[in-house]
Amino acid sequence: MKHRLRWIIGSGFAIVLVMTTIAPVYAYKYEKQKWPTNSAGFYLDIAGWDPALIQGPASTWNNAGSPFRFKLKGHNVYKPNDGYSTIGRYTLTDTDAIAVTKGQPGSTVTEIDTIFNMKYGWGCCAESDLYDVRNVMTHEFGHWLVLGDLYNIFTDINKTMYGLIGKGETKKRSLHQDDINGINYIY
């Protein structure tokens, strides 16, 4: 009888295992572009916000074990395609996007800009009704490294590169092992 019970439970777990691993999933998604060197300078156009909210996420990626480094270069008034990779805050009325990151064409990255959508409320400290700047910036810096969005609610929801972001969410501030593997694969 004991053997039968063990067999039933064992079969159940085997079914779980097969059902949840049956199809391939992305560990991370690399968009096949790369910075020409192992560093990227960034400029800020975030008047009123503490620069530490952006420097913190930069340090998170800098400490991910790869030689790649983000470096704060100073202030720049955002202008598209000006050669300065800038993080700005503007109101984007024609989209529900929380933040948008735009690259440049070519096989190497020459400029990437991120705009925070000021249509939404932003916070520093996991306020439940605001989007957390550090949480979102850690995700956007992933795009600067040319890591793509992931959307598998089952396998990706705890990764920094999961593409949907909640109010008060802070889990993207810390890198998942797959995010770390992503940057270490590229650089």
Partner: protein, 206 residues
């Protein structure tokens, strides 16, 4: 006594197995939904090879969590079914983001908080497009085709409309079926009448 023990143990075993299977089913559905959403996005953004001499620029938009039909419907100002009559040329705004306009001829309104005239064309501003031999790809943006029958959830922008929750807020109607993605189902493929009923119920609940 021995027989009773066997029945109890057997019952416990069946309950455990039932629970495990239920849990496995839930995990499987979540996993499948996620994969279907990812696959739909890949198909949506890069169906054709890049023509020679063209460059590609990627734009990535981070979207609000919980892209469920309920949230999308409740966020939208306008929910409409109609036909795509025009896909406009790409243009960039002052921030350098590239858009193109899509014009939809409405056939049926489900929600109309902005009081659009029943027969007025609706202009929808969509991320991405091709401009001066540069293709601006936005993975999360909806993609429209000429003469396509669509079911769209729209928000009111500065001048025109935009698709709420980007790719999640646009569905194609084909052979009387609605096709698209949402977070609760993954890939959606259901009868138009059933989908309409669901949306009307959601709006009614608010």
């Amino acid at each position: 006594m021995e027989k009773e023990k066997v029945y109890i143990l057997g019952g416990v075993g069946v309950l455990i197995l039932g629970g495990v299977l239920f849990f496995a089913g839930k995990l499987y559905v979540m996993q499948r939904n996620g994969q279907e959403i990812q696959a739909y996005m890949q198909e949506n953004v890069a169906p054709a090879p890049v023509p020679e001499g063209y460059l590609v620029t990627e734009m990535q938009a981070s979207l609000p969590a919980e892209a469920t039909t309920k949230n999308i419907a409740n966020t939208a100002n306008l929910i409409v079914r109609g036909k795509v009559t025009t896909i406009g040329e790409a243009y960039s705004d002052q921030l350098g983001f590239v858009y193109h306009n899509v014009i939809i001829q409405p056939e049926k309104f489900y929600k109309n908080t902005t009081q659009v005239q029943q027969n007025a064309d609706i202009t929808v501003k969509v991320f991405g497009g091709t401009k001066d031999k540069e293709i601006f790809r936005a993975l999360d943006a909806p993609r429209f085709a000429q003469n396509e029958q669509v079911f769209v959830f729209l928000g009111k922008g500065e001048k025109d409309y935009y698709v709420t929750y980007e790719i999640f807020g646009k569905l194609t109607i084909k052979d009387n079926k609605v096709e698209g993605i949402n977070q609760e189902q993954g890939r959606v493929s259901e009868k138009l009448s059933d989908y309409e009923k669901k949306v009307v119920e959601i709006i009614g609940q608010k």
